[in-house]
Symmetry: D4
């Protein structure tokens, strides 16, 4: 994938892989190159660091980082790059995922993480595509089309034909 | 400002203007064109809609939307554009701003808002600059320099010389 | 339905339709005309706006808006009309629906939403009927009868005959 | 005031009187007759009951009930009338007023309370006026004018002239 | 039951009857007279009031009131008597029952409710027995014996014999 | 004070003494003997245990235990006696005292603590008096008089004379 | 086990035994002597006190205390020894275990409890082993090996071979 | 300080230095060598990593890490060493520091952080001393003496002499 722009998706635990796979699928459907890795910020910090460096050199533009509990993965990645990092909190645990949400979104001054809703893997992918679409018209068009399709689904809802 | 890329900053209430001004100042310091407006999504929805359309036609690439309480402004803007929208929850009210945070970050499938921490206006600006930096090397360099300056401040902290 | 007073019920997502149908059923049982639509404030804002305008011209007096997560639907509708808007937060997600509740009830100064309990679709309908009953004696009587029936159910509870 | 429609405002504690006075002032400004009483649901339940009965016989159409902590006042009033009851949670105490909010909004099936945001006394008044405006064109017009004035204030904001 | 001391147990909704029955069973096991009624404070306020008055005249010494959501039942009973009222919050709904807990325990100055843990029906019964045991040695002894039995169960736990 | 019934008030920290003094003053005003001690359950467990034993032998009937943070004092006292223990959570810290409230009220099966609202020292005293009033007519009358005085204060409120 | 260093694990309720057994298993796997008891701080305070004293005299170095609800067990043990006490909050109840977490971690000045995440029994064991490893090289090495094994599991994850 | 055992205290932000200084002072008072640094995990990750490595080589046995907001510092340090890491959440922000608390304590399986209460700097120091006291009798004695002094302060409280 060297030289080509792509989105690097990292999930902190294999148990969250199924949810996060939807981010990869959405990106692929939008025509955005992407790759997915399972790397814990806490249990494999050196692997994470070397992966980030390698991904950046191979053309990673945006990172999507998914984690639960005391979810440090997005913030740790954000501390290693100034490219945009999207944080995806995983549901479960305290108050349905409030612990993961607060651990991701409440980043201190200087190191932002672009946080999406708890478990909203598709939105993480859309946000990454929106960022890339700022300079890639094909991706921008794919996002516009995706939004239009969602709108048509509502317009065609049988309840609304009553 | 027609034709030139810029970040459009909208704040829902004049009472939050002072906090949000820091986002504008940070963008300016990073060399990012920006403009700031006070428009309530609830009290002036038509003005908001016309401002969004106009800003997009004039070159707005990223929106920063700051609001408190049931903070709908970022989501409403996100429903009107597929450009990236950054949500900035204002502190105060319930549990120190939990109402604004949840109202902004928990966006449903299809319409993401890139949320930063409660009251973190500077991070909203940095995130916008990171997005624009994906295709603008001068902005990318400004973000890298900003991070390096923050690092040097820590290295030079007198406590760390002990 | 043109010219006749009715309650317009809008639900933001098809997945919440079953719960919200109870609001429509309750209104019908109380003799209140109503119609139900599935329209997302975020994914179909223009459709929502045209529906609101049309419903008002056809005689919509009160709106019931049901949504979950960052539930902007009631507030967005309230920004487009000065008729009463009832907000119905959907359960699930953070802390059992706290995100939807705060996103609906914490409306800022100038644009109220009359919020009922999380998932309390029947109460949303009763509240709409109470509002219409202020000037429609038949509806007012239906609400009084409904309350009396609930009271008799308690009086007749077998536990209370012990 | 006998025979004339009015809004009855009840506040559970003298300490909250200043906040609630804004509801009365807003109603008066909108041309809505109103009266304000300080009656605790817990410390003076009989006085409350007799006040409700008397107010209804004198023409009370809508009740606004403001209370903090375990705020039972709105629910108790709602159990004694099928006219609309608006609940206004008072700030302070746990998590900035979460206790009052939940005690008011989470009413069980059959007895709704139309809840507005914590401390939003003006919104309580506006909501009452919206209800009365359904059958009183003068009040309806006053609410429309109030909304328009808020919109103009935003349009005229000096920040937006930049 | 006239003339004899007893504990009056009231539950706000039939759906909570199974949990609350454990309070009645525990009281009976401790030799404390008790009776159980299903009365909603909101849907049948007059029945509740007449029940309280009747129960007091027949010898009710302590009330146990169980309710969920915006749980006003214990507070309403406490406003009608100066005998001790025990509040038993029902689980479910927001954050596992936080709404019921706050609605019961956060009573304002002057009207206390003795609140036990969410869903802890047996503890409500034990607390009532402790109160009556202050002047009834047989009940006091039954409570002491109950505590001793719980202690022996721990002493005899097979894990502790390892 | 040997041989005479009294209420033993224990506060876990000197810093909360001022709030808790109101419980003692209220008891005295109601004609209930009481004594107040500052004993931390965590820093002086043996002193606490010997105080409890001594107080019981001297005639302590009810304990009022006030504590903040991880407030174990009421539960620890409740584990050492089967007399009623009233828990008084102190405000401050997380969410305005939610930590103290949950640490006190959520007692497990078998060992209840009668919890009052956060910081409601007067209510703790009233509840103790209500318990003692079950068998002491003078105290029962004092509680009734106290309630009546609160009611008269509302009846005489100048706002209600309007 | 007399004379030999070990970790004493106490769980407050038999219903939590299965979760806590993982702490014992992890300690055993790390070569750390341990024993497990089921003792409620509230229902058997004297047994708890005598167990702590006995365990200390037999060589207990670290205590792991697991409890739910108003979880006083860790704090009570910490008040009886100055050896390190690890608190393990049990999930369930309010907000997924927030009550247990706050009851354990928010210990006041002077008596710390080393708290791990809700339900994280393995982490409680690892933390105990880390403490003992400060002076026992074999245990220190076992902890290092355990971390390395977790890291290798991530390196070998099939997703990462893509 | 090379070769000598010590506690390394790291605080993530200069603004929290005053609170954390109390941990250093307490350790010094207990006769425990310590050093204090201001290093942000997010703004200076490489400096943090090199500091950890250097501190370990110079004899750091235990780390105390203080941070607020999305407080990753303790977890990041814990991912770099298997020595015990004590997490100290800073107050402020959401719900009085709930964001920092959850970000620190909810560490996933395999990498524990020994968390103390929000803002309890002295307890962090005591916990570190308890760990070192397991193999250093002088420190163990200092901790015992510290506890005894706290107990005597309670015994000598003037309120308790009444």
């Amino acid at each position: 994938m060297a030289g080509q722009s792509f989105v690097a998706i990292i999930v902190g635990s294999r148990s969250d892989l199924e949810v996060v796979q939807k981010a990869a699928d959405t990106l692929t459907a939008l025509g955005v190159q992407n790759e997915l890795r399972v790397i814990s910020a806490h249990r494999a910090p050196d692997l994470l660091e070397s992966y980030i460096a390698g991904a950046l050199s191979r053309g990673a533009k945006v990172f999507i980082c998914a984690a639960g509990l005391a979810a440090h993965l997005p913030g740790v990645v954000a501390s290693k790059t100034t490219n945009p990092v999207i944080g995806l909190p995983m549901p479960g645990n305290l108050a349905g995922g409030l612990d993961a949400l607060l651990s991701i979104v409440q980043m201190p001054k200087g190191v932002p993480v672009a946080t999406v809703g708890v478990g909203q893997a598709e939105n993480a992918a859309l946000l990454a595509a929106q960022m890339l679409g700022l300079s890639d018209p094909a991706i921008a068009k794919a996002v516009v089309d995706h939004r239009a399709a969602a709108r048509r689904q509502i317009e065609d809802d049988p309840t609304n034909q009553a």
